[in-house]
């Protein structure tokens, strides 16, 4: 390994009432991929925000390329050659790919923007990265995976020496992840320092050289990746062993009645002739690649998007679902994959979010019964072990896992029979993940029926009683858990007409 490019020592940072970083150390070498791991709320993002000038530190020193630095804003960090690829995409959807990549430093022809040159430059950049994207295409028309690639291209189109990847693979397909890793290895060859934040243990093992683990704002330790096991890292992160094996057999009784039955559902390009049954107490896994139509199917069932044809039966009775209200009235709850946009209202309190779907029951005459509302919310906060100071805290102040618990609480308060979990553990740390798994099992045990859409095969294998596989809008496989394996799921997921 090369020389040290970055050294952060005894970094301390407090927000109002929260000691977010307690004397954290971190160092990065040139030509190294260094994983930064820890549960949500461990302080990873705060540390990176201090590095990139978004926050200022309270104390400690940052040495970058042999000089002590303190970036006052993101621009200074950028100018010094530090780039960050965010988990959330920051793209202007109406502009073209090339316009996005070169925003703020457009190629000029006198006073006129030279789009042709930018397209050529972008093309050259993509060629170097081995990505196939048309620079003249509108950003909003690309898939999330492609947009992510553009974000990376944008980051490395500048003179960079250090790149931070913040959960870059959250929205990528396996093939795209492979491409991304190729790019990262290539950057490592060139001697860049790379900080890689991810919750996916398998990726850490494949792509990184060292792992630094943080917990509760403290530095726990640094490991050489090839000398340690997954369990070593997880243990450092949570301080306990929680790894669980795949489910061996279905927990659903053979005579369990069908609760939800979907017949020949068609909705747009992504849902074609979808039929399946969901039994009482069953966790039905929906596997498939990105863009297989799983989320679209869920949204169609829930009435969030218009349905063209097909029937939906609840407990044997046909139901007309035209909008989410109808679905909720029929007893279906939907936990979106994009929690912040569709699941919760960030600037409203836990109480307000929890009773959002059930307001009628929390009214006393014309008014909201705030006492009753608070009481039930407190119950669910305790039951789901949601970590929060009070139930009057805005949901935006909670970590990802706890936000997800609030969404779950919303549907539990509603007492839905069918719950659709769309990527229930995306962006959630290992500890909270395990809690959510337990909760789902508990709910199924109580007779709730769950549809779980997941892009993580280990998660599908561990949770499902039965697995439905989709590809390009069609169901291409239905596998009992006893026969399921990563291989036969992937085979079905790539089965095309």
């Amino acid at each position: 390994m090369g020389e040290t490019i970055l050294r952060m020592e005894r970094i301390d940072k407090s927000f109002t009432g929260v000691h977010a970083l307690k004397g954290v150390d971190f160092d990065l070498q040139k030509g190294e991929v260094h994983a930064l791991m820890g549960e949500n709320g461990a302080g990873k993002s705060t540390l990176m925000k201090i590095l990139t000038g978004i926050y200022s530190k309270d104390s400690g020193t940052i040495t970058y390329e042999g000089r002590e630095v303190e970036f006052k804003n993101p621009k200074e960090a950028q100018d010094a050659g530090i780039a960050i690829v965010h988990q959330e995409l920051n793209m202007m959807n109406h502009l073209t790919v090339a316009q996005n990549i070169f925003i703020g430093r457009e190629a000029m022809n006198g006073k006129i923007i030279n789009d042709k040159k930018m397209n050529e430059d972008a093309k050259a950049l993509f060629e170097r990265l081995n990505i196939e994207i048309d620079p003249a295409e509108t950003m909003g028309d690309l898939t999330v995976g492609k947009q992510q690639m553009c974000e990376i291209a944008k980051a490395i189109s500048r003179e960079v020496k250090l790149i931070v990847f913040d959960e870059p693979t959250a929205a990528l397909t396996d093939a795209e992840i492979e491409e991304l890793f190729k790019i990262i290895r290539d950057l490592r060859e060139k001697g860049l320092g790379i900080i890689y934040i991810s919750h996916r243990m398998d990726e850490i093992k494949v792509i990184t050289d060292r792992v630094t683990v943080m917990r509760d704002g403290e530095y726990v330790g640094t490991l050489i990746t090839k000398d340690c096991t997954k369990e070593d890292i997880i243990n450092m992160m949570v301080g306990r062993v929680i790894y669980e094996e795949p489910k061996q057999k279905s927990m659903v009784a053979a005579d369990a009645p069908v609760v939800l039955s979907v017949r020949h559902l068609n909705a747009g390009k992504m849902v074609k002739d979808v039929s399946f049954d969901l039994h009482r107490g069953e966790i039905l896994g929906f596997a498939g690649l990105m863009g297989a139509g799983r989320t679209e199917t869920a949204r169609a069932i829930f009435g969030a998007d218009p349905v063209e044809s097909g029937e939906i039966y609840m407990n044997g009775k046909k139901v007309e679902i035209k909008c989410p209200q109808d679905a909720v009235a029929a007893g279906i709850g939907y936990l979106s994959e994009d929690r912040k946009r569709y699941g919760i209202i960030l600037d409203k309190t836990i109480t307000e979010n929890s009773t959002m779907a059930t307001m009628e029951e929390y009214q006393k005459g014309l008014f909201i019964d705030e006492k009753k509302e608070r009481h039930v919310t407190e119950q669910y906060v305790t039951k789901l072990k949601t970590k929060t100071p009070t139930v009057e805290t805005a949901v935006g102040n909670l970590s990802g896992g706890n936000q997800q618990k609030v969404v779950i609480a919303k549907w539990l308060v509603r007492d839905c029979d069918v719950l659709i979990f769309d990527e229930p553990t995306r962006g959630i740390d290992v500890g909270a993940k395990s809690e959510i798994y337990h909760l789902m099992n508990e709910l199924a045990g109580q007779g709730k029926s769950i549809i779980m859409i997941s892009s993580e095969l280990p998660e599908v294998l561990r949770m499902s009683d039965r697995i439905v596989v989709m590809c390009e809008g069609r169901i291409t496989g239905e596998i009992p858990i006893e026969e399921a394996s990563q291989e036969n799921i992937m085979t079905a997921a790539t089965l095309r007409d």
Binding site: S14, F15, T16, Y55, S56, F302, A304, C323, P324, Q325, A327, V328, A329, Y334, S336, R341, Y342, G343, I344, I345, L346, D347, K348, E352, M356, A357, M359, E360, Q363, L366, F367, I368, E370, K410, R414
Partner: protein
Amino acid sequence: MSDKNKKKFTDNPVVKAVGTQRLIALLALCVLFIFFCVASPSFRQYSTFVSIMDASYYIGFMAIGVTFAIITGGIDLSIGTVLVCSSLISGTLATKYDLPVGVCLIVGILIGAMFGLCNGLMVSKMGLPPFIATLGTMMISKGLGSIFTRAQSVTWPQSSESGGWFRNIFKVTLQTDNGLLMIPTGFILLILFAVLMSVILNKTKTGRYILALGSNKEATRLSGVNIAKYETLAYVFSGTFAGIAGVAYAATYSTLLPGNGGGMELDAIAGVVIGGTSMSGGYGTIAGTLIGVFIMSVLKIGLPFVGLQNQYQQFITGFVLIIAVFADVYNRRKKSKN
């Protein structure tokens, strides 16, 4: 380390409860009031106080209503012209068609509500941007008022005339030993309506959903909430209060000119914004709105006392608006940076 121990202004419990921007607005109101009292002895009179109240009614009612539209993340540009339109039509009915004044007033309020309903349906069902939809109804209501009155002005009956009784809702004049005593009862009415709407906003399902959809419309919809209904309702509030403001305007100023009313909505919206309601939706208070409205009335009535004519009201209100909102933006930015 030293600034950690220093007690921050924004950590004060009073400041936290009232909200920075509303506190600044309230302080500005007090400072202005005291300034005028000190600068002009003739300002320190009961009659000035009554004038300030008179100037607050119609803008105040409009502002209370439009707060709801703004909280949904939208806007209602039609309220000013709807005020004039509804008052023109109901006034014509009262003076030319000899309908009972009580009926006419109710018709006026219903006209406001109808415009609100149309705005709401256009925004929530037809998917028009609120700015465009209400710009359209602004022009329509302006035109409709002129068409109905054949472009003639309307003068509501004076309080001494028959049918003028409704003016007493807003101002009761008593004969006392020292001459006439005016009691601005409209103030009580304004406060009553403000309390009512504040309760609806904060204590009922309707208010909760309007706040929620202003914060995140899609998440609210996916919770099974009929967002079209509640968004429409916000505009109905806005329109209805424009109608009520029409009654208040008629009671205070008697004569209405067709084609007027453009610009009044901006005063109301400025009041809402000075009072701390977020233009991007999801947050707002009726109390703040009232403070904002009174700032403008105090300026309007007070400036002539120090020798500055009405045009200075707009000029200075503009500064107050920018400073109040900037203080809030600055504060929030500092908080997120911390």
